[in-house]
Amino acid sequence: MLKKSLAVILSIAVAVSGLWFATKLLEPKYMSGILEGAMISEYYDDPTDHNVVFIGDCELYENISPVYLWNNYGINSYIRGSAQQLIWQSYYLAEETIRLEHPDAIVFNVLSMKYNEPQNEAYNRMTIDGMRWSSSKVGSINASMTDEENFIEYVFPILRYHSRWSDLNADDWDYLVNRDKVSFNGYYMRVDEKPAEDVPEGRPLTDYQFGDNAYYYLDKLTKLCKDNDVELILVKAPTLYPYWYDEWDQQMIDYAKSNDLTYINFLNLQDEMGLDWNKDTYDGGLHLNLSGAEKMSDYFGKVLVEEFNIPDRRGEAELDSYWNTVNDRYELEKERQTNNLELYGTVHDPDENK
């Protein structure tokens, strides 16, 4: 009897570890080329008591540098952002963040108000897969799924990624369990430049009203922050495209006013920040590069300190040493990209899978 139960337990153990191994091997690693999918999960590894947490899409994670904020203002911050992060995904990340720590302020970028329905399965996965299991993750999945998706594919990612068996490469083995850090407290760095020319005017829309669903989650986010005594700051990043309509802007101004929130449209502050669209973007005005992000951080840091009294925490030994390591990686990455740019004309390594 003992022998038999032992055999059963052993079989189950082998079966489960086989599944675990296959899942780990087959899931995408996002360690080169498309790094965005790896960013959400990095959050959990670092010390948490951030004073500011930025939550939103690429208009945050490519435009603000927490390293700069630390070095110049002593602001301990993190960006919880991912590609095309939809508002409900941001909401659930905020919910989780507030459960895990208690930031003084949450900064939310309002561009995603333009999406009222689930959009793209691939982006969903990049945002959600990295989250740890909690009611927030369940909520995020349920709010995000497109018609072709199934909840169970999030529970068992192998059901989703099994067909990658024919695409496996060295990265999948190298990063089977341990992954590199790809971001700097959520910041995605690019040093290259591609001037913004001929940025198109937005085409007229038939309806400028943001959707009910988007507002529903914005309301939830507002309430969440109020209930937990967290300052919610709405921002619109200064990047030129996707086009931000005046009608949209007005809705956010009104919303902030009626809910007693701060809304900062950085598009109106380009001169104050000193943005130069010939030098401060790497893709013609969609996203800022490092130089642009540091300019924006410089301006925003001042606002955070002066208007929201975010404390300067430099001098706390633990934080100093943590930020030192991030800063070292930051400098190394800057150097690597600059070198690549000189040698190959691109920030990517020649053998990088794009």
Binding site: G18, L19, N150, R160, H162, S163, S166
Partner: protein, 530 residues
């Protein structure tokens, strides 16, 4: 709810757990409930159709059966009072009363089947005939629903009705038990077409959890999923590419398409039946086998005894025999013998019955000329092979190849090629196109078509073909082993670690190499705006 969907697996799990938690007496009623739920999830409107068929056949069969029993009891007590001729007349009178009920029920149900399935086909044909006479305005098509599995459950019910009418067995007394026989969910979608005398043996019994039965059932389900997901659903991509673009894919590609389709259909159909039988088995219920390694058949007749067996026997028992044993055929037989001589004359009724059977088989498969021509194609091939019989006898008396491996292999290959050619009607849009594509195999073949690039251009990579190929080898291997008895029995005699490796390996292979879900590829993540 497709067999290969998360919903179905979830549904199965729920049914399975509840089934064994319930007291034995509640098991079959629960299965009825589950079957109707299964149907309800597919489309609530379907329920009316299956309920009508169940209720009408139940009461008709019950009435016939009750009358029969009452008559027999009465007759036993009173037959001495009558002369031989009178007794005959009494019996005939009884039979004709039963026959009225029988025919009414039969025609009603076949009528439902015909209307739902063939109305639009009929309209299309009328329209095309009218247009040849220059008529512009055709009849517009009717928007009818075709209830899932209607061909299968109608045939199953009619088989039951005919058997009761013929006195093979008594009618079921319980409407709900009968309802379960008609709607039993694992076989609702694609058969097998069970006989009441078979299925009723285990369907209503109480079943206690038995590890051996359950594990055997699960193994069978897993094997079915392997066939469907790893082989069928993958090669299907190439089949569809080939038949969709006949300008590019003719000649050798048409041949390759026919072979791919042979593999796809076999893996898909037998895999589905494996799942059906396996699901029933996990609940202790025995469903009739529907396939016995058909691609190992040596001739077409044998093939049809081994492929979709329950359909073949249904047509034999309920169409071929009644027609060929009818008074009309007996008379025809006499006449044709008198006119055409004994040898030729005796074949007329057989072939005529066979012709009717294959015509109906064709149209049963689908409301289109493709299927009708396919059915008649089978008839022609069977007739030819029947007529060639003397030739083969002569051949074998001269050349001693019978029984050799080479000859058997030749027979098997020949059967597969003939059946695959006929099945091309199943693939292409219409009959002329099928003939054109079949012809192109011989006329448009060129060695330049044997390019790897052409095949990887059909939506499958070299890796996919490799998986299909290995899957096919496993399929053939299992079939070879199966010739000497159940593969699962054989595996059960192996040591535990080896059993574990086999079943876990099959599970993981299905999980990873199965063609299901949203195909993931990194190329999807072309990073544009965000």
């Amino acid at each position: 709810m497709l067999f290969t969907s998360y919903e179905f697996i979830g549904f199965l799990l729920a049914v399975f757990v509840i089934y064994y938690l319930l007291p034995g007496k509640m098991q079959w009623p629960f299965l009825l409930l589950a079957s109707y739920a299964f149907y309800f999830i597919a489309d609530p409107r379907y329920l009316i159709f299956i309920a009508v068929t169940s209720v009408t056949t139940f009461f008709a069969a019950k009435a016939i059966s009750d009358k029969k029993i009452a008559f027999d009891t009465w007759f036993k007590g009173h037959k001495k009072e009558y002369e031989k001729e009178e007794r005959k007349a009494l019996k005939a009178a009884e039979k004709s009363k039963e026959k009225k009920i029988f025919l009414a029920c039969l025609l009603l149900n076949l009528g439902i089947l015909a209307v739902t399935k063939y109305t639009n086909f009929t309209i299309a044909n009328i329209n095309s005939i009218m247009s040849t006479f220059g008529s512009e305005n055709g009849i517009s098509f009717v928007d009818l629903i075709i209830p899932m599995g209607i061909s299968f459950y109608t045939f199953q019910s009619m088989g039951y009705l005919i058997d009761v009418y013929n006195g093979k067995h008594e009618a079921q007394d319980n409407l709900f038990k009968y309802g379960l026989f008609v709607s039993f969910f694992p076989q609702l979608v694609q058969g097998p077409i069970s006989r009441y005398s078979d299925l009723s043996k285990t369907l209503y019994e109480e079943h206690r959890f038995n590890w051996r039965t359950v594990s055997f059932g699960l193994e069978r389900i897993l094997w079915g999923f392997f066939k469907k997901l790893v082989i069928a659903d993958r090669i299907l991509v190439a089949v569809q590419a080939i038949i969709a673009d006949t300008d590019t894919y003719n000649g050798f590609y048409a041949f390759a398409g026919a072979m791919f389709y042979a593999l796809e259909l076999y893996a898909d159909f037998t895999g589905g039946i494996d799942i059906t039988i396996g699901v029933a088995e996990t609940m202790g219920i025995k469903v009739t086998e529907n396939f016995i390694r058909p691609y190992f058949s040596k001739n077409i007749k044998e093939y049809w005894n081994r492929w979709h067996i329950t359909m073949g026997t249904w047509f034999t028992d309920y169409i071929f025999y009644p027609i060929s044993a009818s008074q009309f055929m007996m008379k025809l037989s006499k006449k044709s013998r008198a006119k055409l001589g004994n040898n030729l004359g005796k074949r007329v009724p057989v072939y005529l019955s066979s012709f009717i059977v294959w015509f109906t088989t064709g149209i049963w498969h689908g409301a289109s000329w493709n299927f009708i021509v396919w059915g008649l194609g089978n008839f022609v091939v069977i007739m030819i092979s029947q007529e060639l019989d003397p030739f083969y006898r002569w051949f074998h008396s001269k050349v001693k190849v019978a029984g050799t491996f080479g000859w058997k292999l030749f027979q098997v290959v020949r059967t597969v090629l003939i059946m695959s050619s006929l099945r091309m009607f199943d693939c292409y849009r219409d009959v002329p196109l099928t003939f054109k594509m079949f012809g192109s195999i011989f006329t448009d073949f060129s060695p330049s078509q044997l390019k790897v690039e052409a095949f990887t251009g059909m939506g499958l990579t070299v890796y996919d073909y490799a998986v299909v190929f290995v899957g096919m080898l496993i399929l053939v291997g299992v079939s070879l082993v199966q010739r000497s008895g159940s593969v699962r029995e054989k595996i059960a005699t192996l040591s535990a670690p080896i059993r574990f490796v086999i079943w876990y390996g099959l599970f993981m292979a299905t999980l990873i190499f199965g063609a299901y879900g949203i195909g993931y590829s990194a190329s999807q993540f072309i990073y544009n705006q965000f």
